[in-house]
């Protein structure tokens, strides 16, 4: 990894993209890094596109990731993962949820949703790992665990150990009881395992 690590988290307003990026930032800071987090999300609360940038390292200046320099792209939705491919550096990796969230402009017949975003990403030659975070969360009993699944998914693609990130995730739930902490721990590990399995299958 370069001196500054660039992580781009993308999805749709309401999915928890900004919170996930904030937890990643907390983990980086816990390790003594400087960090900046920014997003373009003006009206994203209304179902728009959200792209959240996290940069960390010894000293971070500009908060924005320059196109062509993201190390990891974490996609909460498959078409959104596709939308931001140009941000990745050569050798960067996409970790994407296979969920398809179709916007009203597509339902109205004004635009098409791509048949297979994963295939479109593969065509670019960029490395991509896909997994179904929504179903994993549902199987654990609550779709809201999807966020933690996504954070588990990126855990082994950071320049630091997964435990630091897991600690930061669980700290958020510490006050809400042991049961929720345990559920989130399982969701995190399930995300990690899903990416691990998908990578093993690709290898």
């Amino acid at each position: 990894m370069s001196a500054t690590t660039n992580i781009l988290v993308v999805g749709i307003g309401g999915q928890g993209v900004m919170t996930a990026t904030e937890i990643l930032a907390e983990a980086a800071i816990a390790l003594g890094h400087d960090a900046k987090k920014t997003e373009v999300a003006g009206m994203a609360q209304r179902g728009g596109v959200v792209s959240s940038h996290l940069r960390f390292g010894e000293r971070v200046l500009s908060p924005q990731i320059t196109p062509g320099s993201a190390d990891v792209l974490l996609g909460f939705e498959s078409a959104e993962a596709m939308r931001w491919q140009h941000m990745l550096k050569k050798g960067g990796i996409t970790l994407m949820n296979t969920a398809r969230l179709v916007p009203p402009v597509v339902e109205l017949g004004l635009f098409d949703y791509p048949d297979d975003p994963l295939a479109e990403i593969r065509k670019t030659g960029n490395k991509v790992v896909a997994f179904d975070a929504t179903t994993i969360a549902q199987e654990l009993g609550d779709i809201r665990l999807g966020n933690t699944v996504m954070l588990g998914a990126i855990a082994d693609h950071l320049p630091f150990g997964a435990e630091v990130l897991l600690d930061c995730v669980l700290k958020r739930f510490a006050r809400k009881g042991e049961k929720l902490v345990e559920l989130n721990r399982r969701a995190f590990e399930a995300g990690r395992a899903a990416v691990g399995a998908a990578e093993a299958a690709l290898a």
Partner: protein, 624 residues
């Protein structure tokens, strides 16, 4: 309680610029803080309100918020006011005379410019207010500076008895970076000292204050020349030096780590001698500023040779990716090829109204009524201009729907003589600046139907409380305005005032269709709450009976994001006309049972959802 409030001095936190300013406002011992919500400034006051030992209020508009802050500063207390860039247009009437009286207690006005237009109707540059009103301007470059400069601004404000503008941009307000906080220092107000020659701005008094204002400009420029907020980093590559401020400084440092840089934190009045000092160090000087060529123009007028907007964009955010090629061209260099590929082409995903939003019913109905010219306003309901409704024809500034509708009525051309003029405005926008327009409309006998969409919140900025919902900034009970009584008091005839439920489409349709025919001012008030606030109650979700769905697609025209197309088809009607079919399903996990979609459903194919397993509701109302 604020996330950082209990944090001890010298502790480090990941804070947005807004949160950093809030902490500094509390530490500075501010007694009164006031604002009207507006992206990207909103979280400053939201955060401040969670601190103890101060008074915070949502004001009805930015002018009132500034006036409240001025009163507190006249009374000798420290005061704070914040707003988005366009808010200062509203507040500027007060600002332009405040500069003559000055203040007693420190007064800091944070203005948040939406450079890049993430959620605004224009991209104006608030640094001009410093020149126009003759007040100092500070420009932080990250959260730590936003925090520190807020404290410095209070000190300068009291030293020179002048309000100080803290000019921020979205990339400061909403970027989170590390801040080391300090301790709160209580500030005791001096009390109001009567001094009509200073505080009563009639011509005789005001005229005597103007020379003092100009003297203050000269004094402040000397302070700016020597301020540690303005510093030169000498660098090693002397071919190009940069003069820059705000977030642009970070982009310059990232793109040109070896270049000499003059960073301006205290940017108005501009320290011209410091700029000359930088210019003497380097072959060429480039001014990097967002967004207008303001400093550039001043430096050129001073005879300092600088380059600026000749090579840099006049619009939008700067970034290392914008700066590198511009400077390479200036130096005649060829940049190494970027690793960035071209973005893949994909559908757009514009913001949408929420599932079950009460505005859906209003816009669906407006889209079904013909012959309307619809004057719109600023809020969530501006989305009504988009698909599928396309039921808003203008949007300019807060409250403008009223005056523009009246002007469209009075100024109608021959082709519009049979058109009905409708104005659409939200509750908070109406209270902000719409009331006066309605009064004007009544007084001047307009022919306009006003739709007042009362959803009991400032929706677009996150559902803040306002006088329309009877809660103050802390969520405590407050007097609640009665919109029907208010518009009646403004002169709208009682028989022309209707309060309707926007989920009852037949009533809404009938009311709108009848009122647009009446050649006078009517007000139709919709009364259902925003789905994102606690007043909203979810109902049982619906689902589509796929065996009954005929693919007519009427429900899609409501525009609810919970409705999804499962397959498309074509049908040839008896008339020989071919029509498109769209068979649908409802995402029952996000549907909250508002019932709008089943009203236009021809085959009655939408029924209450019968879950096969316990439903897991997704968080929030917008996921679909």
């Amino acid at each position: 309680m604020a996330a950082v409030m209990p944090a001890p001095a010298a502790s480090r936190h990941l804070l947005s610029g807004n949160e950093a300013v809030a902490r500094a406002v509390w530490e500075a011992g501010v007694k009164v803080a006031a604002a009207y919500p507006g992206t990207p400034s909103t979280e400053m006051l939201e955060e401040i309100a969670t601190y103890p030992d101060l008074y915070a209020e949502w004001s009805v508009n930015e002018k009132v918020s500034l006036e409240v802050a001025i009163g507190a500063a006249y009374a000798g207390s420290r005061a704070f006011c914040c707003m988005k860039h366009v808010g200062m247009n509203v507040a500027s009437d007060a600002l332009m005379t405040l500069t003559l009286t000055g203040v007693s207690g420190g007064l800091v006005i944070a203005i948040a410019d939406d450079v890049g237009l993430s959620s605004s109707q224009n991209e104006q540059d608030s640094r001009y207010w410093g020149r126009f009103a003759h007040v100092p301007v500070f420009e932080p470059a990250d959260s730590q500076e936003a925090y520190a400069m807020t404290l410095d601004a209070f000190a300068l404000s009291e030293q020179f008895q002048v309000p100080v503008i803290l000019r921020m941009t979205t990339r400061i307000n909403h970027v989170k970076s590390i801040v080391t906080v300090g301790e709160r220092v209580p500030h005791t107000g001096a009390g109001f000292r009567k001094d009509p020659a200073r505080y009563v701005m009639v011509p005789g008094n005001a005229g005597k204050r103007i020379p003092l204002m100009f003297q203050r400009d000269r004094d402040l420029r000397v302070v700016a020349e020597n301020s540690p907020l303005n510093f030169i980093e000498p660098g090693s590559d002397r071919r190009v030096g940069f003069i820059t401020s705000g977030p642009a400084y970070m982009h310059v440092k990232e793109a040109f780590p070896d270049a000499p840089v003059l960073k301006l934190g205290f940017s108005c009045p501009a320290p011209f001698e410091k700029c000359r000092e930088l210019a003497a160090l380097v072959d060429q000087v480039v001014v990097v500023e967002e967004v207008e060529p303001l400093l550039e123009t001043e430096l050129k007028a001073q005879g300092i040779a600088v380059i600026g907007k000749e090579i840099l964009p006049l619009q939008g955010e700067l970034s290392p990716a914008v700066l590198r090629p511009a400077i390479a061209r200036l130096l005649g260099e060829v940049l190494p090829e970027s690793e960035a590929t071209t973005a893949l082409q994909l559908f757009p995903r514009p913001p949408t109204m929420c599932v079950a939003c009460p505005h859906l019913g209003v816009y669906y109905t407006l889209s079904q009524v013909r012959n309307l010219n619809i004057s719109g306003d600023i809020g969530c309901y501006t989305l009504g201009a988009g698909h599928p409704w396309q039921a808003m024809d203008t949007c300019v500034s807060m409250g403008a729907s009223m005056g523009i509708a009246l002007g469209m009525d009075k100024g109608r051309g021959e082709s519009d003589k049979d058109k009905r003029v409708v104005a659409v405005i939200g509750d908070s926008t109406f209270l902000h600046m719409g009331m006066q327009g309605l009064l004007d409309m009544v007084y001047n006998k307009g022919n306009v139907t006003v739709l007042l969409l009362d959803n009991r919140a400032v929706g677009m900025t996150g559902g803040q409380d306002n006088p329309g919902n009877g809660r103050d900034i802390h969520g405590n009970d407050a007097p609640r305005i009665d919109f029907a009584k208010l518009v009646s008091a403004l002169g709208v005839k009682d028989e022309r005032i209707h309060v309707v439920n926007p989920y009852e489409l037949p009533v809404l349709f009938k009311t709108i269709r009848e009122e647009v025919k009446v050649p006078e001012v009517s007000v139709i008030i919709t009364d259902q709450p925003c789905v994102l606030i606690k007043d909203y109650h979810k109902l049982k979700p619906y689902a589509v009976d796929e065996d009954k769905c005929t693919g007519c697609g009427n429900c899609i025209d409501v525009g609810c994001p919970a409705i999804h197309v499962t397959r498309r088809g074509k049908e040839v009607k008896a008339s020989g006309r071919e029509v498109d079919l769209a068979f649908v399903r409802i995402e029952s996990s996000v549907c909250t049972g508002c019932g709008l979609c089943l009203q236009p459903c021809a085959p009655k194919a939408i029924e209450h959802y019968v879950p096969s397993a316990p439903i897991q509701f997704a968080k929030g109302g917008c996921q679909a």
